[in-house]
Amino acid sequence: MGPLGLIIPMEGGGADDAHHWPPGVHSFDPKPFFPDAGMDWLNTYLLQAVIATVLVIGVWLWFAKDQRVVPGFKQWIGEQLYNLVRNGIGREALGPDYRRFTPYLVALFSFILVNNLFGQFFLSMFPTFSRVGYAYGLALLSWLLYNGVGIAKHGLGGYLKLMTMPKGVPGPLYAIIIPLEILSNFIVRPITLALRLFANLFAGHLVVIVFVVGGSMLLENADFLYKIAGGASLLMAFPIFGLELFIGALQAYIFTVLTAQYVASSLAEDH
């Protein structure tokens, strides 16, 4: 792949070039630290997820340290981020109940955001949530959360009635509505939550690979016209990076907002 391959260190490279082109699902295969030890789970993705966890916790503890009534610059930045989730997402969706969900929402937003930004960070160049397992994990937790608080508030029967039998529907229509609501509220919600996050980052990363790897391959070709096309492709990679940064932040926000919305719908008195 040549020297340009260095800026995407986790894309393999070297002798495997032929094997890696064209980019596809195999571009997302994990790269175990000990390929022959049978410990495929101990891979770079797990490492960067752990780094993200340490980073998120460290930064938030740093923001939370030495807080004063009149904030300094560091604390002010921290409060802006905290308020974005606490007020902009939690209070907007949940109303007066928002306080007890603030830790969950802040954790969710920052964990997803940092992992998504890893897609454009030069040492990792890989968004963790383009591995679907991580996305399923968070979606499952959100599913447990909104169903849990709903059952805790309304009781199992009351909660199922709230979620599956919207008011003001003529009797016979319940035959259709109830299966639809079950499908939508208990099955489609968590799956779309996970797949929306996963698919955005998966596709975004794939596009980045196409522009960068494809561009560098063209650039190394002997044909002059191919070199021009390769250069253009590499230049195009930078707006794509910008777009991916935006999408990464947006998806973190959306995942958090939807979780808050689902919790709000479970706590609602009326559907």
Binding site: V25, W41, E79, Y134
Partner: protein, 177 residues
């Protein structure tokens, strides 16, 4: 025939370790958020709200104090006004009393002077009448003596006649009056 378990999910098939790692790592973050970070932020927010409310309370207290002082000042002012008007009324009444007293005193003095003058006049009149009576008696006696040709001065009878005559004159006077 393929069952649902045999469908190739491709990239949608999760690797279980990643699924578990996502949940565990997120759980750790959630725990730290709930135990440390969010309480720290909320505590700061509460302190800030308390500080702002404290400031408002202080301002309200100051305002109430100022209002009380103003009220007190107004009361004092009204009291002073009442007092001043009372003093004015008193002074007016006192002045009127003084004038009345002075007038009464002056009247009294005038009455006294008039009475004194009247008494003096009366006394002088009485004295004049007596003197006149004596002189008239002498004059009349000497006149009559000259007319009769002899002195009547020493004559007791003649004096009595003169006195009677004057008494008659006075009686006539008194009748006329």
């Amino acid at each position: 025939m393929t069952t649902i378990l045999e469908i190739d999910l491709g990239p949608l098939l999760p690797a279980f370790p990643e699924f578990a790692a996502g949940i565990v790592l997120f759980g750790v973050i959630w725990f730290v958020m709930a135990k440390k970070v969010v309480p720290a932020f909320e505590k700061t927010y509460q302190e800030r709200a308390a500080a702002i409310e404290g400031g408002i309370e202080k301002a309200e207290a100051a305002q109430a104090e100022a209002a009380a002082a103003l009220e007190q000042y107004r009361e004092q002012l009204a009291g002073a006004r009442d007092e001043a008007s009372g003093i004015r009324e008193d002074a007016k009444a006192q002045g009127a009393q003084i004038i009345a007293e002075m007038r009464a005193k002056a009247q009294e003095e005038a009455d006294r002077l008039i009475a004194q003058a009247k008494a003096q006049i009366e006394a002088e009149r009485v004295q004049a009448v007596q003197q006149l009576r004596g002189e008239i008696g002498g004059l009349a006696t000497s006149l009559a003596g000259k007319i009769v040709g002899e002195s009547l001065d020493e004559d007791e009878r003649a004096r009595r006649t003169v006195d009677r005559f004057i008494a008659d004159l006075e009686a006539n006077d008194a009748e006329r009056v």
